[in-house]
Symmetry: C2
């Protein structure tokens, strides 16, 4: 007597939250291609294509550049658990949920965490990081480039330079920036960088692109202890993605088809064009919000183009507005997290979702709802 389960029939949403963003049809179709073996010679060619394209998108020549077989947060964990050994002193920048998460993961991996904090909605102060570095014996500095919980874009170059002057590794969360903002891994001196697929890359969630510089690989190889996390142990995962093709785990074949196709579309558009598109649509949104009397949380010079943190006006019911946007217009936006719950809306203009028409549609829908 099997129960009866409904047919899958998800509504086509306009995805303007903090991710996932809308996925181009070609990427969805790629997900449905016939599954082949994870060691099939044809799959090996696909893996090589993915690595080459990902290097272009991350603007890096790092050999260790490939997607982790789990979502963006696993990329965060992969970077930290491979590069931290128990007792290491690590500076973690915290001005939102994802900085907090990095501190939590670093601590679980035995790090002595030096917390450099800024109010949510503001960037970190590089001088404070510099002072903490001067206090000595820091092995790793980690910051979030695009804080998805606050809409803040963190400038990176100055921090990178200071970290290197003190021989510390520089780790960057580019989950909400990669594909929407410039993320210049090699030029800026980022040692480990991770992202997600479901934001500005517009690929379904399920993978986390990561890259490790030679310095990071050296640190990995010089570890005194085994990486505590088997699934994310880069000393093994890289053998599968490298020449040896040594079996580690069964790669998510169909999700990687989608990833391949998504990267291809990004390179066809061109990184520069894509960044400019994200910038233009962000500006269009900000101008429209201004007409509605609505303000963004971060100061203009620290705003993400991909994720707009909009202050909720006094007296407006956060949940009721989001519910109406979803039910009347099929538009998904996000609410605030943590201390910003009920205080901001998070309006994503990421990847395939970053279009002038989506901006117009959202502004008009919001006007009707308010």
């Amino acid at each position: 007597m099997p129960h009866c389960y409904a047919e899958l029939n998800p509504t086509e949403r306009v995805l303007m939250g903090p991710g996932p963003s809308n996925v181009p049809p070609a990427v969805l179709q790629a997900m449905a291609l016939p599954t082949i073996g994870h060691l099939d010679p044809e799959f090996v060619v696909i893996m090589d294509g993915i690595k080459a394209m990902l290097k272009e998108v991350m603007l890096t020549d790092n050999e260790l550049t490939f997607p982790i077989s789990a979502t963006g947060s696993a990329g965060m964990e992969a970077c930290l658990c491979n590069l931290i050994e128990p007792g290491d002193r690590c500076i973690i920048g915290i001005n939102g949920v994802f900085g907090q998460r990095m501190a939590d993961i670093a601590q679980r991996n035995g790090a002595d965490v030096v917390r450099i904090e800024a109010p949510w909605g503001q960037p970190l102060d590089p001088d404070e990081i510099g002072q903490a570095l001067n206090a000595g014996n820091i092995q790793l500095v980690a910051v979030v480039h695009g804080e998805t919980s606050t809409g803040v874009l963190q400038p990176l170059e100055e921090i990178a330079q200071m970290a290197h002057e003190h021989n510390a590794l520089f780790v960057v969360d580019a989950v909400t920036s990669l594909g929407g903002h410039p993320v210049r891994v090699d030029e800026w001196g980022i040692d480990a960088c991770y992202s997600g697929t479901q934001k500005c890359l517009s690929i379904p969630p399920g993978l986390s692109p990561v890259t490790f510089s030679d310095r990071a690989v050296q640190a990995l190889e010089n570890r005194q202890t085994k990486v505590p996390n088997w699934y994310l142990d880069m000393t093994m995962v890289r053998e599968y993605w490298g020449e040896a093709r040594t079996y580690h785990h069964t790669a998510p074949v169909n999700t990687l088809y989608g990833f391949y196709e998504g990267l291809k579309l990004i390179l066809e558009e061109g990184l520069e064009n894509r960044w400019q598109r994200h910038k233009r649509n962000h500006q269009l949104l900000v101008a429209g919000l201004d007409e509605l009397g609505l303000e963004l949380l971060p100061a203009p010079e620290y705003r993400l183009w991909s994720l707009n943190a909009v202050k909720i006006p006094g007296g407006v019911d956060d949940l009721a507005v989001r519910k109406q946007l979803l039910e009347r217009f099929n538009i998904e936006i996000g609410g605030g997290l943590g201390e910003l719950k009920g205080r901001i809306w998070r309006v994503g203009l990421m990847g395939y979702s970053s279009t002038p028409n989506n901006v117009i549609l959202f502004l008009e829908a919001l006007r009707k709802v308010l």
Copy 2:
């Protein structure tokens, strides 16, 4: 000057290796449905359907029953890292690669591992596990139900009973058995069980179904230390899959569509019918191999129906045979792992790949190649 990357066009293989198995068209099509948000009310309904169907497939009423957002090996790690605390004494059964992997992961999580070994191709001896339990102070016993590296099916009930008599948790790897063999989680007294999607469930790789008994949940809640692995920390992941729907990570939405559809097909076929189909096709294969003068590694009473470990006859070139099967007939089978490399072929008859026609095709292709 973007490079030119080839169009994706994977060949339709006959997948008869150790996984992935072939995926039914309806499951592939589900992967390509429009992505929606991981907290969308429609997605919550899909999650509830997945939990209900997975309970039916795992024959359990456990509330904590859902897929981990990573492949089968992450399910292994999830069970072990949540249930082991540093210093815990754990019995790990080792008669192949996946028992070795469990021991490795348990050690990385600080366990004092008691290794109970058997020759590869033979099952574990429950008496040896009983003796180790009698020696005292064991918190956890973990064994592999279907050893993918050797084709051995491990009887579980006696070990489960002994573990419980000594108040130890019983953890089972059902990666290669779930959906092809009976896996009676509640009836047999399994406390934590994990599987993969790409074997007898015939869903693309990318998820790992897990279930925890009330005893396992109690052990989780009584931990003195934080789970060292953030991504797999069940105290948090279960809040997303439970009533609270608390954001933890972005779920792999499209992969979960495929999972939903795949579970639906399994329940429509019926578990009993599906097990019998796997048994019949295994028997058909064994009879055909016998005619070719080929033998299986495990004794008849300990053979997996889903994964057949075939001894390679003397003088036959392992790689050349597999290459020809792939290139001339599009048939993928697996080679041996570890100490069985070059000594066995691993012929999978899993899920959608377990058909009489596949058996006939494989036997005839092998005859031509040999």
